[in-house]
Subunit: 271 residues, 3 copies
């Protein structure tokens, strides 16, 4: 029994998602069809990429993930099918699979053919007329020769780097996304935090020092705090409130981690 | 195994949709239940009608579509069951099936009985207490004699006509809906466009001429353009932006298609 | 075949709900997974409680309801599993099951262990790492000894009482929630209305008398009216409009039911 998941910026009220689900059921009446999200902000490729990256690895092997956030629908952008060895993905080639492709550098990546017995590219609704048929054929175990051509250079978006000042040992990370609760998520991972032994730093947001907490619920006052979230990324949070709204945070805002004691040579951080 | 789809303006946060899905599962534990949308704007019958019209025809035969956008819940409006020969629909008789009924003029149409062993009409929640039980009985293959009475005159809403000026050959269509991306969809179909040989016209929105594009992604500048969408309706669009918001468009705004060359008698358009 | 339902304030765009659904499918590939709602307002425990209370009783026996509105995630609040005899629930111990527990006072209530072979409490995403594994183990029929410890005093929120003036016979109820359509729902049930013989009262909202209607659609004018809704609670409504917005109603606003005739001793209401 096939599992298809759907991650789109279509909303549901126009009926486009309903059409895709109907098509998949017509092709695979026993399929399990799961809505991951249709509330991705219109054209927000980064949000779509992070949404599917959080969810896909929990699914059973051979699940097929249809990911359509597609500002360039109908243009010359390629259409992809990706096999990580465990999961399949179909999507436009615009970066929406960046997190998947970075995590699975040995994936098999195919450019979907422009025309096959099952689809024709370059419609104004590739979600229904291209990606859903491609997913349906993959679920049948159709030979990939009939569906696409291997490629090696899919679009992967740039992610902002964290910056480390070798002289002062100061580390700068930045806000790269917000979640529904208004938490501000940065690009600093727990792995880097541990490697760089950043326990002995203070975390600055603007001129304010943020305490580092273990749990959301631990902090009962109304002051913002830092926490490593379930993705092991440092985030700024505020108890039961939106820190984004209350502190007027924006994407790209930076956090500074300053060593408590001046660096001696032995402890100097190598980036 | 029965397939039920749900299209409503209920939202999900009040739990009403959850109740309907529970009822259907209790009646048909093996059923596949598909959310088409619960985000139809409250009481927006046209939006509900267009949503289900885009989706239903992709579903397998014998699917049962529950469509409840129902400003008159509990009033004297009738309750319908419709069989197009391939699909079943249950809904209030208020126009929300207009597009279905126009596409399938030979449908069998029933007024659901006010009271049966399975339901009683005129509650404040007909979605759960009337339409879901009717759908469940239809899925059992219950005799329609027990469920309703054939009728011939369901409510079908009026759609604005396109206007053609026989003297000048000018055609006026209008914006009849917006999608989630802010595209402005008109009532001019590709079929009429081709029949009337409108390739030799210019498309005016207010005083501006809109280029006619084949793909959304083709137009990389910031100027609005016209395009036939996946429903083969002419729409006004703007690359990765909401043309509705940026041009302050409203329902009923008109587009004018003017012949490039003055009409000669031979080419005069017959409406 | 297990049925899991999900009621959360997570939204869908961050991918957290998608992750939970993937986990459940990995554990129970044949499971039916139903979205009740992910649009509960962030941290709104009352709304979550009312949402699941409207829906759960329609589901088949042995359904497992995962209810996560959890302002205190990762704090010391307990985690619950509740068995009403017919349905299972897993949720934080913060009142979100109040309506269920009030309706089923003989439920078996367990505090989930902090650590088991299947989960560890106190993460920043208990939805995935605690409640979903607990639900999956319950679906396997795992012994409750391994999962939790019986408790007797779960958090149940206070609900505002209706007030009855014994001298005048006047009854005061108040607005306790709003639904998606802007209807204002009060804490006065039809049962109390009937017991207290309130048919012979007039219903005041501020200085205005509200007519009591049987159906939403019955009232075609633009004046607000009172009606008992499908939960048998008195609500204030306005034909096809949001009475909340138009009358600027707030939670806690009161309705006064005044006897038409002064009370004689025989009719005096006993509270």
């Amino acid at each position: 029994m096939s599992i298809f998941t759907l991650t789109t910026d279509f909303g549901t009220q126009d009926g486009y998602v309903g059409a895709i689900k109907g098509y998949l059921l017509s092709q695979h009446p026993q399929a399990t069809i799961i809505d991951i999200s249709h509330d991705i902000e219109p054209h927000n490729i980064h949000q779509g990429a992070e949404c599917i990256a959080r969810a896909y690895h929990q699914y059973p092997s051979a699940s097929i993930h249809i990911v359509v956030v597609d500002p360039g629908v109908g243009s010359t952008r390629l259409a992809l099918a990706v096999n990580t060895g465990k999961h399949w993905f179909v999507s436009p080639d615009n970066g929406v699979l960046s997190e998947i492709l970075k995590s699975h550098p040995n994936s098999q990546i195919y450019e979907l053919h422009s025309e096959t017995p099952w689809w024709r590219k370059n419609t104004s609704f590739d979600g229904l007329f291209l990606f859903a048929p491609a997913a349906a054929q993959i679920a049948r175990g159709q030979s990939m020769d009939l569906l696409g051509t291997p490629i090696r250079d899919p679009v992967i978006y740039d992610t902002p780097e964290i910056e480390i000042d070798q002289t002062t040992g100061e580390l700068t990370c930045q806000v790269t996304s917000f979640d529904r609760f208004g938490n501000a998520i940065t690009n600093l991972s727990l792995a880097i935090y541990n490697t760089c032994k950043l326990e002995e730093t203070k975390i600055y947001l603007r001129s304010e020092i943020l305490p580092l907490r273990r749990f959301y619920g631990e902090q009962c006052t109304s002051t913002p705090f830092a926490i490593f979230n379930s993705d092991n990324k440092l985030e700024v949070s505020l108890n039961q409130k939106s820190v984004r709204r209350i502190l007027h945070l924006n994407l790209g805002d930076s956090l500074l981690l300053k060593p408590i004691k001046p660096l001696d040579d032995a402890k100097q951080i190598s980036s």
